[in-house]
Subunit: 157 residues, 2 copies
């Protein structure tokens, strides 16, 4: 089954630095189709949601916490993500056009990605201040470059 | 890059029947650590959430629909899932104990899994009747057996 589960974001980055060397070049990715990076962190529980945005994963994180306990969260956004191609307003309008009531129930705040440093920093801070995340939980935000296969640390709180 | 993306749930099942033959036996899985099945459907956009429960994925499905359009949904639950080990009430109480307000915002209905036929049928019906899912979207519910690697069709609507 390959390597044992990594113990920290540092270990994920270390493994990725070996992996990126043999990265086969540009992949066709969709927003949730994040195979290369999940390959490096394959034995950790992975929540895969649109854009890797924290707001969409918080229920899963809270439920996972009841099942196994969460001591560290590694958040990853990736270049050429589908959410970089549409604005938050565009997506909200499309969903409201189908069902205004359901759109209201969803957290569609700050969904589109214009700048990865901003989106990753925002999500890490949002998680850091979330009532369901323990203060001692380590939170690291990484950017995955789909052209090079490289993970870069953007934020850590 | 392996095979091109499968076009339907039938093709996913067909590929799985070949894959299951060489399945290496029992894996250690966590709820969101669904590597074997994602390997068979790797080029489709994948939302990975606690238990594969539809309620936790609906926002992602709605957002993906604005980005790429969704014509078919393949929902997969797997044996020995973390959600089979705890009741809905247990998980709700744990989350309410941390933040009653945040627990209220979450859809924690019918979360624990007692019977896979029931959980898959419920989720497929829930999606079928959801205002954000088009009536012409095909919805198939599969069960993945982690011991044999085999996918079985449970529901189709």
């Amino acid at each position: 089954m390959g390597l044992p589960a990594p113990n920290s974001s540092e270990e994920v980055l270390e493994r990725n630095s070996e992996y990126a060397v043999s990265h086969p070049g540009s992949y066709h990715f969709t927003a949730e189709n994040f195979k290369s990076t999940t390959r490096t962190i394959i034995d950790l529980p992975v929540v895969r949601c649109a854009g890797g945005r924290a707001r969409l994963a918080i229920s899963d994180i809270a439920i996972l916490n009841t099942l196994i306990g969460i001591n560290e969260i590694i958040l990853i956004h990736h270049t050429d993500c589908g959410l970089t191609h549409r604005s938050t307003d565009y997506m909200r309008e499309k969903i409201e056009a189908i069902s205004p009531l359901e759109a209201q129930k969803m957290d569609l705040e700050d969904l589109g990605i214009i700048d990865f440093e901003a989106s990753i920093n925002n999500d890490v801070s949002w998680l850091r201040n979330h009532p369901l995340i323990k203060k001692e939980t380590k939170i690291t935000g990484l950017l995955y470059d789909i052209d090079t296969g490289k993970l870069t640390k953007i934020a850590s709180q």
